[in-house]
């Protein structure tokens, strides 16, 4: 391996439980080591600084997604499921599915949902507060709200929705190496995959949801009928866990930053900024891989053709080269430009959905809760790709 001679090398395991519990020290170590670091344990290159991560996200020509955006290299390995037409595709195949989903999930399309989701958020917060003022915000709010509104918006029936979180959790684990987290999910893969596939068929979907609109696009020839179920599958895979953990992140941030909560209460219009700042600060999606399409030079290092590159989105979002006081959760910051949703042609197509969910929930909460504070130590949920909370005990003071 000639190219690695000049590259700083690290034997860290980004997917170990120790790192998953607290990846921040590793992020700093990798950022400081150089613009490109060779991870000897996985024979993979890594970018941990903002500039290189953002450039790689944008440069689809040099950094391919079609060989998989996880550790597995589809050039040599069989994917665990048929690859995503969005996440695991390059132009030109990526174009049509992306174009359709961009429209279906676009900000204009979401306008009609705002009123309903605000009412849903108010109802959920009222119900939780009626049960008591001390509760676990991870399942009670962050877990409950997306599962309440998103599957309805997609148009999937009520039965079996409990499968969505485990399916998503496994899909995001599967982007990592074949470690114990992947093994843990393996026994249910066939069952969960079959259930998800069954929900993607035209006849299984409601008449006016995102799913039906995807099928309508197939009727207009914008995608093929064979693509439609896989595009629906992308919604069900990527649209639940990510939002749950994003909302967990902002709730935990507020519980530990009471002065920021007061700011939001004084200025509820900051809810959108607050969510994006939390996505920057916590980066619910921590990493994605790319594959070099040729010998690509980055920061004086040649990443050889066909090799995997691990992009640390979370580290880029706290790179002091880009952000002042990056470790501070601060509503006065402009978080625009963070890479928590990715960047470029693969930037999260559901980001407006996530923002609307978070905004309506935070707005409902801010109107009803004067103070929110920890009621016990929070507990992490480990996932190879996602930064997540299993539990966030809080005590609130209703208005």
């Amino acid at each position: 391996m000639t190219a690695t001679a000049a590259v700083p090398t690290s034997d860290v395991d980004p997917f170990s439980h120790e790192v998953l519990e607290d990846p921040l020290p590793m992020h700093e170590q990798l950022r400081e080591a150089g613009p490109v670091v060779y991870l000897s344990r996985y024979d993979t290159y890594a970018f941990a600084r903002y500039e290189e991560v953002r450039a790689a996200l944008v440069d689809w020509q040099d950094f391919s997604s079609a060989a998989g955006v996880g550790h597995a290299n589809f050039r040599y390995e069989e994917p665990w499921r048929p690859p995503s037409l969005l996440l695991e595709a390059d132009p030109p195949r990526h174009d049509a599915p992306r174009r359709v989903l961009t429209k279906v999930l676009g900000p204009r399309a979401l306008r009609r949902l705002r009123e309903d989701w605000s009412a849903d958020a108010e109802a959920l917060v009222d119900a939780v507060l009626a049960e008591g003022t001390t509760f676990d915000a991870a399942p009670a709010l962050a877990g409950a709200f997306p599962l309440r509104v998103f599957p309805d918006a997609v148009g999937i029936p009520a039965d079996g929705r409990e499968n969505l979180l485990p399916y998503g959790d496994h899909a995001f684990n599967a982007f990592g190496p074949a470690n114990d987290l992947v093994a843990k999910g393996a026994p249910r893969v066939a069952e969960l995959s079959a259930w998800v596939a069954s929900r993607c068929a035209r006849e299984a979907l409601g008449d006016d949801g995102f799913g039906a609109q995807i099928w309508a696009a197939a009727d207009r020839g914008e995608i093929t009928p064979a693509m439609a179920p896989l595009v629906v599958r992308s919604l069900l895979t990527a649209g639940v866990d990510t939002t749950v953990h994003g909302i967990s992140a902002v709730l935990h941030a507020f519980a530990t930053h009471p002065e920021q909560w007061q700011r939001l209460r004084a200025e509820p219009g900051l809810a959108r900024v607050a969510f994006d700042e939390a996505v920057r600060w916590e980066s619910p999606v921590q990493t994605f891989f790319r594959t070099a399409t040729g010998d690509v030079e980055v920061g004086g290092v040649v990443v050889p053709d066909g090799r995997k590159i691990l992009m640390f989105l979370a580290s880029a979002n706290r790179d002091p080269r880009r952000w002042a006081d990056p470790d501070v959760f601060d509503l006065s910051r402009d978080p625009s430009g963070h890479v928590g949703f990715g960047f470029g042609i693969h930037q999260c197509v559901g980001q407006h959905v996530a923002r609307l969910e978070a905004e309506t929930l935070l707005t409902a909460l801010a109107a009803r809760v004067e103070r929110i504070e920890p009621a016990g130590p929070p507990r992490r949920h480990h996932n190879n790709t996602l930064r997540a909370w299993a539990s966030i005990p809080v005590r609130v003071t209703p208005v």
Partner: protein, 326 residues
């Protein structure tokens, strides 16, 4: 054309990127191909076949042209410009005055003519209408689709990019009118076939003819675009305008060198944004009064006409005053 004298180079605004003409080549009678690149070599916004850009000339005129280069090259755009004898001077300026080294404003890209997936494509180009189809041919190859092209023009010497088509062999039928008469659309299209998409770009009579010829094809088989390159589009406004923020009660004047997003931010109203290229939609803002000058890649023509929202990272104002729900 009111004047052919050289004007000062366009100023950078956030509604457009300023690109340099790095090459200008006569590729047929009355057709020049321009290659545009960022003066600092920066990556240009992504596009897909069928996309067009707004070209803002130093005269202030804005014209739309299809991108006909290679999307895998992120640092250059290529467009083909037909001299429009009856036009209002935009194409004449490009032909007679614009030179390598000059700077132009470029807005977009936007795509109203995307290549949808299909097993087989039939492409029909009339004259300069070849430009959006050129990258589609390459893309159809990449996708492993079967395709054929029928390319008509007045005479062979007036038909651009024949050299780029020569490698495709008998999949391309070149039919200059002075050699073979009007295009034989019926013969080229054959019987309607499900799974085949017909793409056509060219002058209005050709589009009318192909619509008639495809009338018994399954719905959505035919996709057309009037060729970009006509003298259309409102001139880009260079005078300052006022943006009133209805909820906060502030008003800010936006000069030509400043974007609306920055101007709003300068009076303390932060609008969340992300791509700052008019592609992601994060900064969508409701418009209460005034007509936005849309520069984004998101809204389709109907949505643009509705004028009820805008993306202030790139879009501006057509009127003196724009009122936003901020």
């Amino acid at each position: 054309m009111t004047s052919t004298q050289r004007l000062t180079p366009v100023a950078a605004t956030t509604s457009t990127v300023v690109l340099e003409v790095v090459d200008k080549t006569l590729v047929a009678e009355d057709v020049v191909a321009l290659t545009l690149a960022s003066p600092d070599g920066a990556r240009l916004p992504d596009w897909a076949p069928g996309a067009h850009v707004d070209l803002v000339l130093p005269t202030g005129m804005t014209r739309q042209y299809s991108l006909c280069g290679d999307r895998f090259d992120p640092s250059t755009y290529r467009i083909g410009v037909l001299r429009e004898a009856s036009g209002r001077g935009g194409s004449a300026y490009v032909h007679d005055v614009l030179a390598p080294g000059d700077l132009v404003g470029v807005g977009g890209p936007r795509n109203n003519f995307p290549l949808v997936p299909a097993d087989r494509y039939l492409f029909v180009a009339g004259g300069i209408g070849i430009t959006p189809l050129l990258p589609m041919l390459h893309q159809a190859d990449l996708l492993g689709a079967d395709w054929q092209l029928l390319y008509g023009g007045r005479r062979r010497a007036s038909m651009a990019f024949l050299d780029r088509l020569s490698g495709y062999g008998d999949r391309v039928r070149v039919a200059p009118q002075d050699e073979s008469g009007l295009l034989d659309l019926a013969g080229f299209l054959g019987r309607p076939q499900p799974g085949t998409r017909v793409y056509c770009c060219g002058p209005a009579p050709l589009l009318a003819a192909i619509e008639a010829a495809c009338s018994d094809w399954p719905p959505y088989s035919l996709r057309t675009e009037r060729f970009a390159g006509g003298d259309l589009g409102a001139p880009a406004r260079s005078a300052p305008f006022e943006v009133e923020l209805a909820r906060t009660g502030r008003t800010v004047t936006v000069g030509p060198g400043v974007g609306v997003l920055e101007a709003i931010g300068s009076v303390g109203v932060e609008v969340l944004s992300s791509c700052r290229q008019g592609t992601c939609g994060t900064c969508e803002t409701t418009v209460l009064a005034g007509r936005p000058d849309h520069r984004d890649s998101l809204l389709d023509d109907d949505e643009r006409a509705a004028g009820d929202c805008m993306y202030p990272c790139v879009s501006r104002s057509l009127d003196d005053r724009l009122v936003l729900d901020l």
